[in-house]
């Protein structure tokens, strides 16, 4: 019991630092998810048009995905220096595979009858994409984005090692000082952030569904 109270006491004492690091952590993770999605979804749309070529792109993204985050950050360091830039770049790279793959799977999985009917009624390729393919692939794409969001919040922790200053700073500090309180002070906000990202994206998905079905 004393330990718990002690932890809260400690947490309260460093609250300002936790707040600063949380905000920084959040925007880096968010930037990673947003930029990753903005690059991977259009790429996925292109790949779905040429699935044969697309296999190689997905394989490449899969290869990048297997690089350990520490190694990737180390690799980016000489090119991008220290700080948020290599961190966000790594996040974007990690988001590619899931989003790319699900975008392709989602679009290719759209009921061929729905596509044929829309095309037969005179939908242009762009209208087909916006009115049929993307709305119907949305749940699959969103599932990937939600996974990526949770993953990204976790990987952002590693950014602390290249001076990105996120909640990872507290965690690594705690590890080096063998201080569980400091580790927890970094870990708990990370977990809460990951869960809230997931929930917020769930809300966004429902919003999007309403928009696409009434547009």
């Amino acid at each position: 019991m004393e330990g718990v109270i002690g932890f809260f006491q400690y947490f309260w004492d460093i609250r300002e630092m936790v707040a600063v690091l949380t905000v920084r952590h959040a925007w880096m993770a968010l930037a990673g998810v947003v930029l990753g999605t903005l690059t991977a979804v259009p790429m996925g749309i292109l790949i779905s048009r040429k699935p044969k070529v697309g296999v190689y792109v997905i394989d490449f993204a899969g290869m990048l995905y297997t690089i350990p985050s520490l190694a990737l950050l180390g690799f980016l360091l000489p090119f991008l220096g220290l700080g948020w830039l290599p961190t966000i770049t790594a996040l974007v790279i990690y988001s590619w595979l899931p989003v790319l793959r699900n975008t392709v799977t989602g679009i290719l999985g759209v009921d061929p009858a729905a596509k044929e009917a829309a095309k037969g009624m005179g939908a242009t390729p762009y209208q087909l994409l916006m009115n049929v393919e993307l709305p119907l692939a949305l749940p699959v794409i969103m599932a990937a984005i939600r996974t990526v969001a949770v993953l990204t919040v976790g990987i952002t922790v590693m950014g602390a090692l290249v001076g990105a200053r996120g909640l990872g700073e507290l965690i690594f500090q705690g590890i080096s000082m063998m201080d569980n309180r400091t580790i927890l002070a970094g870990t708990i906000p990370v977990s809460i952030m990951a869960l809230s990202f997931d929930q917020l994206l769930g809300l966004l998905e429902r919003k999007l569904k309403v928009v696409t079905s009434s547009a």
Binding site: A117, A118, G120, M121, T212
Partner: protein, 367 residues
């Protein structure tokens, strides 16, 4: 009078690589007719249909829609001007019935108001209630979904409809109902319809003319009656033994009705010297409202041609004037009768139909 041609194919072929799927097919579809393309799977019927709206581009030959070569038209505009109904319906699951019906109008950027009005109008045209408009496709049965599919194809008020096995995915009962509705709808909308099916019975029922395809070649083309009389071995095998009987399904019973039957008013008496009575055993008794009370055997009449109400025998259950000759014949076989009265919905007596005159119909040509 020259007939107006809506769709014309001139020596149209389609190759996939070196494989010829459609081979020099030519036919023309007259305005307002239902032209059926039929054949075994892989005969190229769907490919032929899809070349009309250029979902599949043809390799050689000419396709004219309302006299214009389709390759000279913008494919998107062409498709928007032609209604399209497919077997797997293809309603958009994320859109309401209203939005599905108005989809073409959305593509052509018509106002929301116009879209909604048209959807309301069409949902009723195809026999669904307006409260379906706000529902989603998954909440509807297969038959109801295909009605929406038809409504959607009519949204932009096209002159031409392409229907690719439209009733292939629904159960036989619903299919028959949808066929009947299509025919009834066609009475009022008079669209030019190109209809693909693999079901000969369906072809006979809806088609004003039928084209039979085999391995990409059009092997037979004609009215249902001409088709059943074809001497071609493949056609004979394909349409099967029962085909002649199926053709009767395309003829309304009113065409087989006996018009000159002996009739007497319930208050009157029978003129036994009337020429009309010749060859008849019974005389039919009607009242002032055009209803038939029953019939009396001529033998049982009094000497002076009078009769009492007690002598009238009630009519057997009749058929409605909307049924086909085939249905009437089936009814007769079922009930063991050689004739049936035809009675309209408001109980009006239209006459009777004889088994023998149904058989005679097969002997005469339809045209």
């Amino acid at each position: 009078m020259t007939r107006e041609i809506s769709v014309e194919l001139q020596n149209v072929s389609k190759y996939y690589g070196t494989e010829k799927v459609v081979d020099e097919v030519s036919f023309s579809v007259e305005k307002g007719e239902i032209f059926v393309l039929i054949g075994p799977s892989g005969c190229g019927k769907t490919t032929t249909l899809k070349m009309i709206n250029q979902l599949i581009p043809h390799t050689s030959g000419n396709i004219l829609v309302n006299g214009v070569d389709v390759t000279k038209l913008d494919a998107v505009e062409l498709r928007r001007s032609i209604g399209y109904v497919i077997q797997y319906i293809g309603l958009l699951p994320h859109l309401t019935i209203q939005e599905n019906i108005a989809f073409v109008l959305k593509l052509t950027k018509k106002s929301k108001k116009e879209q909604n009005e048209r959807a309301l109008e069409l949902v009723e045209t195809v026999g669904l209630q307006a409260n379906y408009l706000k529902r989603y496709p998954r909440e509807l049965s297969g038959g109801q979904q295909q009605r929406v599919g038809v409504a959607r194809a009519l949204a932009a008020n096209p002159d031409i409809l392409l229907m690719d096995e439209p009733f292939g995915a629904v159960d036989p009962l619903t299919r028959e109902q949808l066929q009947n509705e299509l025919l009834r709808l066609q009475e009022s909308i008079r669209k030019t319809i190109v209809f693909v099916t693999h079901d000969m019975q369906e072809a006979f029922k809806v088609g004003s003319r039928i084209g039979i395809l085999r391995q990409g070649k059009l092997v037979c083309l004609g009215t249902p009656m001409e088709i059943v009389r074809s001497e071609d071995e493949f056609v004979k095998n394909f349409i099967g033994q029962g085909a002649l009987f199926e053709v009767l399904d395309t003829i309304p019973v009113l065409r087989a009705i006996e018009k000159d039957i002996p009739i007497v008013s319930e208050k009157g008496k029978v003129d036994l010297s009337d020429e009309k009575l010749k060859g008849w055993e019974n005389i039919f008794v009607t009242n002032d409202h055009g209803q038939c009370l029953g019939y009396i055997s001529l033998d049982s009449l009094n000497q002076d041609g009078t009769f009492s109400a007690g002598q009238i025998e009630p009519l057997p259950a009749g058929c409605s004037p909307e049924v086909s000759v085939k249905q009437a014949v089936e009814e007769m076989l079922w009930k063991g009768k050689t004739w049936l009265p035809v009675i309209s919905e408001d109980e009006g007596f239209k006459g009777i139909v004889l088994f023998s005159s149904c058989a005679d119909l097969l002997a005469e040509d339809r045209r």
